[in-house]
Amino acid sequence: MTLLGAADDPSCYSRLVNDWVCMDYVTDRQQEIVEATIQHIGITVVSVVLGLLIAFPLALLARRVPRLESAILGITTGIYTVPSLALFPLLVPFTGLTATTVVIGLALYALTILVRSLLEGLRSVPDDVRESATGLGYGRGQLLLKVELPLALPVVMAGLRVATVSTVALTTVGSLVAYGGLGNLIKDGVLTNFRAELFTASLLCVVLAFALDALLVLVQRMLTPWTRGVRA
């Protein structure tokens, strides 16, 4: 094998060449790359959705009981302060070396951003709009669903974008417990000094972050048609 290999030009990802950019690597290891990307997207989406599901009732609670607001914000900020490489190990005793550990950790980070943007968004609804709706006979629930949430949407979506982009980046650290999506390839690239693998995985992470961000911008445009043309 080695003799045959020596006859040809060595592939651009062989130990001898070790190029950063190498299309041969991408075609030869396509399956591995696709699997890592799918795991990455999966972890990111589940984490952000979970974060949103927890953030929503928390934000409503904080708004209803102002005394709890600073407590909720304080605790979530505290969680945000803990580095991801420290947060994952702290969850391991409860969730083991599973994808759940990564998802919960990332959801906690997303939560911090989302609670804040939900509160800011709801606060940005003008009081007179709220009063008019109440005057029209809207109950509390209807007011929230039909008036306040749609008007809060631009701010909430801004938060969702920030949360999604940072979650994509943070997912890589999940490679500590072997569930890091593209982070697993990055880790392997460092350990084996495999430049093509490292560079391709890093680039895909950034591309993924911007792609999901662009997707959310599109969703926001569809959900808030009235904002178009108003802002510059």
């Binding site: 600073s70 580095p83 490489l85 190990p89 631009p154 940072s166 650290v173 500590l176 990055i186 460092v190």
Partner: protein, 254 residues
């Protein structure tokens, strides 16, 4: 929950704190890394951002740098720097293995929050205050030093606080690519299936992170000239999404 007793055993054994690769030495090393990187980022970022904010130019760049910084995984950048032939894994004095690579990554990740917040801090000074200062005959320099900087200081400091949190987190991740710092205890524990040790390291890292954040919050309160700081999501809050860090780019797209 045997890991907890393992963790406690690791933390309570004095031998694990002493020595050149003990907790105390690594903690000192990571603090040194953090302070150095934060200072370098301040020296580079603050003058540019404050000056641009004073002139009102370059806003697009100053605000979007945060969005770009957020999209780049710290782990990936660290890995690229370490595997590259320069700076690589060379030991850099007290900064340890891959010290230079780590310092570069830390500084780069500290820059976006510093630049964005400082820029916005200058721009958010109320226009009538600015005009009043101009009407009193203040020169550009005087307005910058006596009006804009004091009023914008809380937001500038909140950017530094965010950068501090970011730098500490990145310094921890450095160990994942064989770099220096406390993260070594975490990664070492995990790679050798000594989870008690890994969790002990995580606990120390998390505790120091919280202490740093609290200290930074105290500094931020101390520099607020108006003392009407709104800790629960006002404009002076670094993590607040409608606050300076993301509002403009996020809204202008929609």
């Amino acid at each position: 929950m045997r890991v907890f007793s393992d963790m406690w055993a690791y933390l309570s054994d004095g031998a694990n704190w002493a020595g050149s690769d003990g907790i105390a030495a690594l903690l000192g090393q990571q603090l040194l890394l953090t302070v150095t990187a934060l200072l370098m980022a301040m020296v580079v970022g603050l003058p540019i951002a404050l000056w641009l904010g004073h002139l009102g130019r370059g806003g697009f760049l100053a605000i979007n740098i945060s969005n770009v910084g957020r999209a780049i995984p710290t782990f990936a950048l660290l890995a690229l720097l370490v595997v590259a032939s320069w700076p690589g894994t060379d030991v850099l004095g007290p900064y340890g293995r891959a010290g230079l690579a780590t310092l570069i990554a830390l500084t780069l990740f500290a820059l976006p929050p510093i630049i964005t917040n400082s820029y916005v801090a200058m721009r958010e000074v109320a226009p009538d205050v600015r005009e009043a200062a101009r009407g009193m005959g203040m020169t550009g320099q005087q307005r910058f030093w006596r009006v804009e900087l004091p009023l914008g200081l809380p937001l500038v400091v909140s950017g530094l606080r965010l950068a501090l949190v970011q730098v500490w987190a990145t310094a921890t991740i450095a160990a994942l690519v064989a770099g220096p710092g406390l993260g070594q205890i975490i990664t070492d524990g995990f790679f050798r299936s000594n989870y008690g040790k890994g969790i002990a390291g995580a606990l120390v890292v998390a505790a120091v992170a919280l202490v740093l954040e609290l200290l930074a919050a105290l500094v931020q309160r101390a520099v607020d000239p108006t003392r009407r700081g709104t800790p629960s999501g006002g404009h002076t809050d670094a993590l607040s999404v409608t606050g300076a860090t993301v509002e403009s780019p996020a809204e202008s797209v929609g």
